[in-house]
Amino acid sequence: MNERIKYLREISLNAKEHISTERAELITEFYKSSRALEVSVPVRRALSFRYLLERKKICINSSELIVGERGPAPKATPTYPEVSLHSIKDLEILNSREKVAFKVDKKSLDTYREDIIPYWHGKSNRDKIMDALSDEWKNAYNAGVFTEFQEQRAPGHTVAGSKIFNKGLSDLIADIDNEINNLDFINDMRAYDKREELKAMRISAEAMVMYANRHADELLKLAAFEDSDARKDELINMASICRNVPEKRPDSFHEALQHYWFFHLGVVTELNPWDSFNPGRLDQNLYRYYRHDIDNGIITEDQAKELLMSFWIKFNNHPAPPKMGVTALESNTYTDFALINVGGVKPDGSDASNELTYLILDVIEEMRLLQPSSMVQVSKKSPDRLIKRALKIVRTGFGQPSMFNTDAIIQQMIRQGKDVIDARNGGASGCVETGAFGTEAYWLTGYFNLVKVLEITLNNGFDKRTNKQIGLRTGILDDFIGFDDFLNAFNSQIEHFVQIKLIGNNIIERIISENIPAPFLSLIVDDCIKNGSDYNRGGAKYNTSYVQGVGLGSVTDNLTAIKYAVFDTKTISFTQLKEATDNNFEGYDKLRGRLIYDTPKYGNDDEYADKQATDVFEMFFNAVDSKPTARGGKFRINLLPTTCHVYFGSVVGAMPDGRLSGEPLSEGISPVQGADKYGPTGVLNSAAKLDHVRTGGTLLNQKFSPSFFNDPDVYNKLTAIVRSYFRMDGHHIQFNVVDTDTLRDAQKNPEKYKNLIVRVAGYSDYFNDLGEDLQNEIINRTAHDMC
C-alpha cells in the first residue's frame, strides 16, 4: 500500500459518521415547488433527482483518484425524508446512542425541526405504509414475529450487471428514445404510463451526465490552484475522465472505475435502497479494461492496484443510512452491504477466474476494510488456488472474503425459472442473497421469527409479551396426541403468520411503486427500459421478493426437545415442560441440564434432530415459495439473520431447548451456539440436509481458533471442507478465525482492540461496534480447534 492509499485509508477510517441534512433540505425545497405538482410521479422523482444533482456540494478529497461522495464529505450521511422521516427524538438518539451512533449537530436539528418535519409529517412513504397495514399485521410486527425491510429504506438488492460497464448514459438515452418512438398508443393501454417512466429515466440519465461535468469543472478549478505539478496533471486527467464518463462508455481501467462510481452515487442519492448498490462481478466487468491498459502499457499492475484501492475507499466512506427502532435492531451496523464478487463462471459456463481476480484479492487483504465486503464464487471448475488464496486472507481474521457455491447459485436461479446465461452472470449480494446481476430486482422483505411462532403455538396462539391473541387457536398442550399432531399445529401457525406477512408485502410493494419509483436505477437493470417500466414497479426482467427465515437451529432444537422429552422418552409431560419454560427454568436446573446436554441437537449430523430441521424447512418453504407478488414476481425464501437473531431472541421467552428468556437465537443455518459437538463435518452435514437449491441463499458461519492454522496442511484440508460442502449443494460458508480469549479480553478492554474485526453473520464488523448481547453470542459459538 503506497503513501497515498495509506493517507486516504486513514482519513476514511477516522472520519466520524454524521448526519447531513443537505439532501433532506434540497428534496424538501423541490417537493414544495409548483414544478413538482405539475408532473407525473415518475417524472417528479426524476426532476427531484436532477434538482439534487444540480445543487449538491461537489466533494473532492485531497489526493484521491476516484471522485464523488454521497454526502458533502466522507461519512456524511444523507437522510431520505420522503421514504421515512426521522423525528427530533430519533435524531437525538442517533446522536447519543452508544453503538452505531451518527453525530447530529444543532443546526441539523433546527433544520429538521423547522423545515423538514413540518413538510413531511404524515407524507413519507413510511406513513403511507403504516396507514395501509392491518391491525393483524401490526400486532404480529409488534410481537416480533417478523420485521419489514421497506419500513425505513427503499427496496434493495441492486447489483450492476455487465451492461453499464459497456455502455455510456448517451447509449442508454438512445435506447430510451428508441422505446419512446416505438410506443404503440393504439394497442398498448399502458403506452402513456410507459412514456412517463421512460421520460423520467431520460431526465435521470441527463442529470447524471450534468453531475459528472460539475465534478470536471471543480477538478479544473482545483488544478488551477494546485502547486504540485504532479497533482495538477492528475486533476486535469481526472477532469477529462469525468467529461467522458458516464456519458460515454469507458476507455480505460481508471475510467471504468469512475464510470461505475457515478452510477453508484446515482443509486444511493436517488433513494436509500437496502444494501446500497454493488458492482457485482468486478473481476469480470473490469477485465477487458485491465487487459487493454496493461497490454498497451497505459498502466502498470501497481497503478491498477492503486486505482482499485482508491475505489475501495469510496465504499468505506459511505456508512449505511441510519436506521431506527426495530429496523436498527435487525441490522445494527454501519456496513452498507456492498459485496464484491470475484471468480465464478463466465456466461459460457467456463471458469471465470483471471489475473485480476487475484489482484483484487490482494487489494482485499491489504485494505482490510469493512466496505466493500467481498466474496469468492467457487464453482466445480474453479482452481483450488482460488480457494486457498481466499483462505489465506480469511486466516488474517477479518471474516473476508466469504465463500459461495456458484453451482448452487446457478441451480437456485434455474429452479426459479431464470435463463442459464442470466444465472451464470449472477452471484450473491448483501449477506448471501442470490441474484441475477443486472437483470433482477430481488427484494428482501423482512425477517421471519420461526422460534416466536413456535412459542405462540405452545401458547395456543397467544403472545404473552404483548398480551394478545395474535395466532390461531391450534390447541392446548395436553390435547396433542402425538408429536406430529403438535407439528401440524405449528405448521398452521407458520402458514397463518406468513400469510399476514405476504399480504403486508403486497400492500407495501404497491405503495412503493406508486410513490417512489426509481428512474435512475431503472436505467441500470434490464429490462426496465425495454418494458418502459420502473424497477420498483416490476420493470426488471426478473422480480423476486424474499422472506428470510431466522432461528432454524433454535427451532429445530426446540422441536427435538419436545419430541424427545415429551413424546418419545416420555420423561416429562408437555404441561410440566411448559411450566419450566414459563418460570424461565428457575428451580428447574436439572431439567434444563438434561434438555441442554442429554437431548439430540441440530449440527451433529444426527438424524433424530436433523429431521425437525428439514420438516421446518419444508413448512416455511411451502408457506412462502411461488406465491405471487404485487409487481408480478414470486415470493421465495432464504435463511439469514444479519443481526436479527439477537432482536428476535429478545422477544422470545424461555424455550424447551433450555434457552433462557431473551437470549439470542441461533444464527443463519448454524447450530445453536455450543450445541455442535462433533466438529465441522457434523455441522456441515446437518446443514447440507436442507435443500439449499430451493432457497435464495443460506448462511453458515464456522469459527476456528487461530491455532487451528498451525497445521502446515491446513489449507488443503479446509479446501476439502469447502469443496465437500459445495458438492452437497451448500450455498455459503464463512470462517471466523478468532480466539475466544481474545474476544473476552476485547469485551473488557475495548480500547486495546479498536481494529478487531469479526464475522457477524453475512458480513464483518468491528467487534467494538457490536452490542454486548451480540458480542456474547459470537463468543458462545463453538470454536473448532485441534489438539
Binding site: G679, N685, I721
Partner: protein
C-alpha cells in the same frame, strides 16, 4: 461381534493424510505415564461424573466411558464423512488404546473399509503378537507406529511393558511394504532426552526401510489433566513442563540425517 470404543472423532486431521474419522478402541496393554487418553487404558466401560455448567450452577451427569458398537453401526458412522475423505484423500484411522487388542473386530473393520474403497490407517503401540499385524496388513494402507524409548528398562518404567516386542514388530512390519509413519511422544525428562532421541534415530536408521515415510514428534501437553480427575486416576506427570517450540525444533534436527520427513505435530 461388537467392539468397545470410547470415541469416534470426525474431522480428525492429525491421524494420517487428509480429513479422517478416527475410531478410538478402548483398552491398552501400556500404561504410559504421560497418557493423553487415560480413558483408553481400561478395557471395560467406566462410569464417571462430569460437571457441566448451567448458568452459575453445575449440572452433574453420569458419563459412561466406552460403548459397544457393531461393525454395521461403525461403518454407517464412518460413511457419514466419505465426501470429505474423497475431497482430501483422507480416510479412517483406528486408534486407541491399542486397537489391535480387539483384533477380530479390527480385522473385519479394516477389511470392510477397503471393500468400500476407503484409505485405512492403524495407530498402534506395537505391543501385540506379530500375527495380529499379519491379519490386518492386507487391508491397511498406513500404520502410525508409536515408539517411546529404546532403553528397555526405562521403557518398562514409563509404560509398564518391555519394548522388545515393539521393536521387533516394527522391523518385521517395515519389510512387508505397508507405509509407516513413526510417532514419538516428546515428554521432557522422560523420553525426550537427547540420548534417547539419538538412539531412536539410530534405530530407525538401522531398519533402513523405504516404507517408513514420515516421523512425527508429538509435543507433550497438559490438556488431559482434567480427564485424570474425572477418572479418579492420578496424573503422575504433574511437574513436567510442556516442551518449547525451540526445544521441539532441536529434537527435530536429531532426525535430520535419516532423510525422512520429520514433523512436529501442531
Amino acid at each position: 461381534m461388537k467392539a468397545l470404543i470410547f470415541d469416534i472423532k470426525r474431522f480428525a486431521i492429525h491421524d494420517g493424510p487428509g480429513v479422517r474419522t478416527t475410531v478410538f478402541l478402548k483398552g491398552c496393554p501400556l500404561t504410559c505415564l504421560w497418557c493423553h487418553n487415560p480413558e483408553s487404558q481400561n478395557g471395560d466401560i467406566e462410569i464417571c461424573n462430569v460437571n457441566k455448567p448451567i448458568g452459575d450452577q453445575m449440572f452433574i451427569t453420569e458419563q459412561h466411558i466406552g460403548r459397544h458398537i457393531t461393525i454395521d453401526e461403525l461403518m454407517s458412522d464412518i460413511e457419514k464423512d466419505r465426501i470429505y475423505y474423497e475431497e482430501s484423500d483422507g480416510g479412517v484411522t483406528f486408534s486407541g488404546g491399542e486397537p489391535m487388542m480387539q483384533i477380530d473386530f479390527l480385522e473385519k473393520a479394516v477389511k470392510r473399509c477397503k471393500e468400500t474403497d476407503l484409505h485405512t490407517a492403524i495407530d498402534t503401540s506395537g505391543y501385540v503378537p506379530y500375527s495380529f499385524f499379519e491379519r490386518v496388513i492386507p487391508y491397511t494402507d498406513l500404520f502410525l507406529f508409536d515408539i517411546k524409548h529404546v532403553d528397555d528398562k526405562r521403557h518398562k518404567a514409563f509404560t509398564g511393558v518391555d519394548n522388545s516386542i515393539i521393536l521387533d514388530n516394527i522391523k518385521k512390519l517395515a519389510e512387508c511394504g505397508s507405509e509407516i509413519w513413526i510417532r514419538i511422544p516428546a515428554v521432557p525428562d522422560y523420553n525426550a532426552t537427547e540420548e534417547n532421541l539419538e538412539a531412536l534415530s539410530n534405530f530407525i536408521s538401522d531398519i533402513n526401510a523405504e516404507s517408513i515415510t514420515r516421523i512425527y514428534l508429538l509435543p507433550y501437553h497438559k490438556l488431559s489433566s482434567h480427564k485424570y480427575d474425572n477418572l479418579n486416576m492420578a496424573d503422575k506427570l504433574v511437574n513436567i513442563q510442556e516442551p518449547t517450540a525451540n526445544q521441539m525444533k532441536e529434537w527435530q534436527r536429531i532426525f535430520a540425517p535419516l532423510n525422512i520427513k520429520t514433523y512436529i505435530k501442531g
